[in-house]
C-alpha cells in the first residue's frame, strides 16, 4: 500500500469515527487493470478500502451536487478547483465539506499505455515513478512521466487550492512554458483544416453524454440537449447535431473548466473533447487572466464584467 493511500485511509477513518463527517467520498480500486471507482464510505471499514494511484482520474466534485450531509472528500488539485467552483456556484457550502487534499503528481493515460501493446493488458502494478504492465506474453516497466494524461502534463496546479488536511507533502508546481501548445496547433490550421479536424474528432461520437455527465460543471436540472421546447439539438447521429452539442457543452463550461480531463476519461470512444474546452480556457486566460476554481472569492468571468473589457470586435 502506498503512503498516500495509507494516509487517506487513516484520515478518512478518523473523520468517520469522530463523526466529523457523515460520509467520505474517494476512490476504491476497480475490477479491471488501470481503473478506479468513485466510492462513498459511510463506515470506517469502508474507509479502509480507499485507494490512491495514478488511475484516480475522474473528478469527485461531480458527486457533491445536491448532497445535504457533512461530507469528507478526497481532492487532488483539479478536484479541489472544482470544489471551489461548486462553492462559488452555491452547489455546496464550504462548511459542509472536509477536504482531504492530495498533492498530485499526475494521472496516467490508459489509452496511451494500451496503445503500446498489441495484446490485452492483464495486470498493472505501480511503483513510485514507474509502473509494470503485464500482457499474456510480455512484462514491461514504463515511466509515469512518459504516460501522463495530456491535461496532467500541462497542469500548473497539482496541489489542492483549498483543503482541510493534506494526505501528502505538497509537490512542486511546475512552470510550463506554453501550456496551450495544443490549442496553438489547431489555431495554426486553416479554416477548412480546422473544420476537418473537428469532423474527424467527432466522427465516433455516440451521443452517450458520458463527457457531460462526468463533468462536475454539468449539473443543470435540464441540459439543453434534453430540452424539447424548443429542441436545440436533434437526437440522432447527424453531424451538425453532434457538433452543436459539443460546441454548446464546451461553451457552457467557459471560464469554469479546470481542465480536469474527466470528460476525456469518461468517453468510451476516446474522443479528446478537451479540444473544445481548451480553446475557451486559453481565451479566458489571455483576456481576463482567469483560471477556474483557484479560490472561492472571485466570480467566474462570464458571471462578471469589467467596463474596460475588450470590445474592438463590436461595431
Amino acid at each position: 500500500m502506498n503512503t498516500i493511500t495509507k494516509n487517506i485511509q487513516e484520515l478518512a477513518v478518523s473523520l468517520l469515527r469522530d463523526k466529523t463527517v457523515d460520509i467520505v467520498i474517494g476512490f476504491k480500486s476497480g475490477t479491471v487493470p488501470m481503473s478506479s471507482v468513485p466510492f462513498v464510505a459511510k463506515t470506517t471499514e469502508q474507509a479502509r478500502t480507499f485507494i490512491w494511484d495514478t488511475h484516480c482520474r475522474l473528478n469527485l466534485a461531480n458527486y457533491l451536487t445536491g448532497r445535504k450531509e457533512k461530507i469528507g472528500i478526497i481532492a487532488k488539485g483539479c478536484d479541489s478547483r472544482n470544489i471551489a467552483n461548486h462553492i462559488i456556484e452555491n452547489k455546496i457550502s464550504r462548511e459542509q465539506l472536509h477536504i482531504i487534499g492530495v498533492p498530485c503528481s499526475g494521472m496516467v493515460d490508459k489509452v496511451k499505455i494500451a496503445s503500446e501493446f498489441t495484446e490485452e493488458i492483464i495486470e498493472y502494478t505501480e511503483q513510485p515513478d514507474s509502473f509494470v504492465v503485464k500482457t499474456a506474453s510480455q512484462t514491461k516497466t514504463l515511466l509515469k512521466k512518459d504516460y501522463l494524461r495530456a491535461n496532467c502534463s500541462t497542469c500548473m496546479h497539482p496541489n489542492p487550492v483549498i483543503y482541510d488536511q493534506l494526505a501528502a507533502d505538497r509537490v512542486t508546481e511546475p512552470l510550463i512554458e506554453n501550456q496551450f501548445a495544443d490549442v496553438n496547433r489547431i489555431e495554426a490550421l486553416s479554416r477548412d483544416e480546422k473544420w476537418q479536424h473537428f469532423d474527424d474528432l467527432l466522427q465516433d461520437c455516440i451521443r452517450c453524454y458520458a463527457c457531460r455527465n462526468a463533468c462536475p460543471l454539468c449539473y443543470c436540472p435540464t441540459c439543453f440537449v434534453d430540452e424539447s421546447d424548443p429542441q436545440w439539438v436533434g437526437k440522432g447521429t447527424d453531424t451538425t447535431d453532434i457538433r452543436t452539442f459539443h460546441f454548446l457543452r464546451a461553451y457552457h463550461c467557459a471560464g469554469r473548466c479546470t481542465d480536469c480531463g474527466a470528460c476525456v476519461e469518461a468517453c468510451p470512444m476516446d474522443i479528446n473533447v478537451r479540444d473544445f474546452t481548451r480553446k475557451l480556457n486559453k481565451d479566458v486566460f489571455d483576456m481576463y487572466g482567469w483560471e477556474a476554481g483557484l479560490d472561492i472569492k472571485n466570480r467566474p468571468p462570464l458571471d462578471t464584467f469589467n467596463p474596460d473589457d475588450p470590445d474592438e470586435f463590436i461595431k
Binding site: 479491471v32 490485452e120 455516440i206 458520458a210 440522432g236 469518461a266 468510451p268 470512444m269
Partner: protein, 362 residues
C-alpha cells in the same frame, strides 16, 4: 454437418466473390479500436481483431434510423401521411461476428419479433442477414461468455462458425443460409467432418479453459422480483454511476430506443435512435412525474432487467452474453459480474421481507 476448409490465401478472393451477392459488414480498425461497419469494395474484415468497441447490433439496429417520412408541404396531397422509406433488404453478411454477439442477436429478436407485433425494420434486416461467426481462440480477461449462456465457440445464432487454424479457417456450416454464403464465396473444399470437428472441439476446450471470468446465475430465477428489488446493495452500486448511456450503447443486447420527429424544409421524418435507461429523461412524464427519477432506481432497473425481468418474461436466461464491453467501457467501472454475483447470492435478512409487498400505491 459439413466443415469446409478455407485457406487464408483464398480468403480475400472469396470475400470479393461474395460481395457480388452480399453487402458485407465486418470489424475494421479505426483509430484506437475496432468498429463493425459496412465494408466498401476494397475493405476486408480484420479477422485479427480482439473485440469491437461497439457491438455489431448496429447492422440490424442502426443507432439512428429513419422509420417514416412524409411531406410537410400543406399544398401537397399526401401531406402529413407517413409512410416507411425505401429500405434495402438485399442479402447481407456479417463476417467475423463473435459467437456471443451472435447469441445477443437472438436475445434482441425476442423483443423485435413477437407474437403480436413484428418490427419490420429489424426483422427484415435480420431475414436478410447471414451471420458468419469467428470463434475466439484467445478470450479476453473480461470475457465471461461461458457463464452467460454463450462461449468462445458457441454456435447459437450463427450460420457459419469460422475457426482460425493459423494458415486456414475451418468453416462449420450451421444453416442453409451459411451454406449458400460459402458457396457464393466459392469456399467448397470439404474436410472430413469427423476429424475437422475433433480439431474444433479441441480448440473449443482450450479456449473455454482460458476464460478466467465467471458469473453465478443459478439462484436468480427462484428469487422474487421484490426481494432483489429491495436488496440493500443498490445504493452502493448506484453511487458512482454518472447516468451516461455508455453501458447501453456498447451492449449487444440493449435494444431500447427513442422515437423522434424532425421537420427539415418540406419533409417530416420520424427517426428512431438508440436510447438508454440511465438518464432520468427516459421515463419522465410530461407532467414532471418520474417513476425512475432517482439514479438508484435507474441503475437497479438496468441490472434487474438484464438479470431478472428478462428471464422472468421470456424464460431464455439472462439478457447478457458476457462480452465484457460494459465492464471495460463504464467510466466508473460498474461491473455487471459483481452485481450479478451479488444478486445471485443475496438472501434477505428476514424471510418475511421477501414476500412483503408495498401494498399501496405511491
Amino acid at each position: 454437418m459439413e466443415i469446409i476448409k478455407i485457406k487464408k490465401s483464398d480468403w480475400a478472393g472469396g470475400i470479393d466473390k461474395s460481395r457480388k451477392t452480399y453487402h458485407l459488414f465486418g470489424p475494421v480498425k479505426h483509430k484506437n479500436h475496432h468498429i463493425f461497419r459496412q465494408l466498401e469494395n476494397n475493405i476486408y474484415p480484420d479477422m485479427e481483431y480482439m473485440s469491437s468497441v461497439l457491438s455489431p447490433k448496429s447492422v440490424l439496429f442502426p443507432q439512428s434510423q429513419k422509420i417514416l417520412v412524409t411531406s410537410a408541404d400543406a399544398s401537397g396531397k399526401a401531406c402529413h401521411i407517413f409512410t416507411p422509406p425505401e429500405q434495402d433488404h438485399t442479402p447481407r453478411a456479417v463476417i467475423g461476428i463473435r459467437p456471443c454477439d451472435a447469441k445477443a442477436v437472438q436475445l434482441v429478436k425476442l423483443n423485435f419479433d413477437t407474437k403480436e407485433y413484428q418490427d419490420p425494420y429489424w426483422c427484415s434486416a435480420f431475414e436478410a442477414t447471414t451471420f458468419v461467426g469467428l470463434a475466439v481462440n484467445t478470450p479476453s480477461v473480461l470475457d465471461f461468455s461461458t457463464s452467460a449462456g454463450s462461449g468462445p465457440f458457441a454456435q447459437e445464432g450463427l450460420d457459419v462458425l469460422l475457426v482460425d487454424c493459423k494458415d486456414h479457417y475451418l468453416a462449420k456450416i450451421l444453416s442453409q443460409k451459411g451454406k449458400e454464403f460459402l458457396n457464393t464465396a466459392g469456399f467448397n473444399e470439404k474436410e472430413d467432418p469427423k476429424a475437422a470437428d475433433q480439431v474444433i472441439q479441441q480448440m473449443k476446450i482450450s479456449a473455454e479453459k482460458a476464460i478466467c471470468s465467471v458469473i453465478q446465475t443459478q439462484h436468480l430465477k427462484k428469487k422474487t422480483v421484490l426481494e432483489l428489488y429491495e436488496a440493500p446493495f443498490w445504493e452502493d452500486i448506484a453511487f458512482s454511476c454518472i447516468s451516461c448511456g455508455t453501458c447501453a450503447y456498447v451492449c449487444p443486447t440493449c435494444w431500447c430506443f427513442d422515437i423522434q420527429d424532425e421537420t427539415q424544409g418540406k419533409t417530416a421524418v420520424r427517426f428512431r435512435n438508440w436510447d438508454t435507461c440511465m438518464p432520468a429523461l427516459f421515463t419522465r412524464h410530461s407532467s414532471g412525474h418520474n417513476p425512475r427519477g432517482e439514479k438508484i432506481q435507474r441503475v437497479r432497473q438496468r441490472f434487474m432487467h438484464k438479470l431478472k425481468y428478462f428471464d422472468d418474461k421470456y424464460d431464455q436466461g439472462i439478457m447478457c452474453i458476457g462480452c465484457g464491453r460494459c465492464v471495460e467501457k463504464c467510466p466508473v467501472n460498474i461491473d455487471i459480474r459483481d452485481i450479478c454475483n451479488l444478486m445471485n447470492a443475496y438472501k434477505p435478512e428476514k424471510e418475511s421481507d421477501a414476500g412483503e409487498i408495498k401494498g399501496e400505491i405511491k
